[in-house]
Symmetry: C2
Subunit: 203 residues, 2 copies
Amino acid sequence: MPIQKPALSEYPINTLINDRWSPRAFDSKTVENSKLMSLLEAARWAASCNNSQPWRFIISKSEDKDAHDKAVSCFNERNQRWVKNAPVIGFVCAYKLMPNENPNRTYFYDTGMAMAQLSLQALEHNLYLHQAGGILIDKITADYSIPDNVDVVCGFGLGYQGEAESLPDELAERELEARKRNLISEFTFSNKFGEISKIFSNK
Amino acid sequence: MPIQKPALSEYPINTLINDRWSPRAFDSKTVENSKLMSLLEAARWAASCNNSQPWRFIISKSEDKDAHDKAVSCFNERNQRWVKNAPVIGFVCAYKLMPNENPNRTYFYDTGMAMAQLSLQALEHNLYLHQAGGILIDKITADYSIPDNVDVVCGFGLGYQGEAESLPDELAERELEARKRNLISEFTFSNKFGEISKIFSNK
């Protein structure tokens, strides 16, 4: 049975946003290319500064064993334990320059917006992602010929959910932990950074 | 009549993702606090590296004229032309450090994911955002007491859609332009960066 971890939200939010979480247990079932294209289409229509669209994706599927093995080898050992079972493995990259060749100050930010749209679209197809910063950036840069004007941001596994029992014990336990977040009042301010917003005093 | 600009998508995507765009024409109608809280709740549940949750928001509403005027004055003159009519104005900030005080390499990226969720949640309430990089970062830092370990990312206007005719001519024309994006095959690679992905050859 897939694990459900709806957000413990105080205010109503969209189902995809509510139900998204980052499992480590993936089923070996192939992800259909038509679904993968919908995920990339969702990323495609994200907002970005001056429509610079800095997001770049590298994607490998388990049907191509060599490509999949290569992708797994670009994660650190801790993350290899679970990502090796994901039928789709990818790396998110970000292009550093604006169309006019000036540095793009928000290239990581814009790329995050695209990746969030991709992650939410996944839920529409019962697909889940787990993103990981624990990747071997120098190896990825060499193995995938990443150019100087592109940064590797993170890696991810993508697929249908598997059974928590398929994971090493430590990871199986974490798979069942509740999702936790800061309170809205801890990250939203009004007149001065760090002071509780007036929004909260006049509902 | 609100302007609809559905994405010219090749593959089916979620309605919120499909219909999101960045208008400059806002109605003066107040945004209900309950809806604003749902938007912040959507941001709250975004993924982030080691659950570091680096996003921070500063939000002003037009009901508080002093706060709203102060926010408008922190945009460059080009953006002041339209943002002054938005009933909610905000600044997105990002906290630089991980919980263990090490630098957070993906703080802009994670903040982008939260902001994408906020932007999509807005559509559920017929609310739209326009984000802008053209802001006065030094002034914001001073006026809102932004601490050293926080970066200001961008500003935004938020509200119900207004009439394109309410804008200066140049902006009214842009309001009606079609949304354009790169092709998926231009930003998705497989074995090597810059080479078309195998995904596209075996649909």
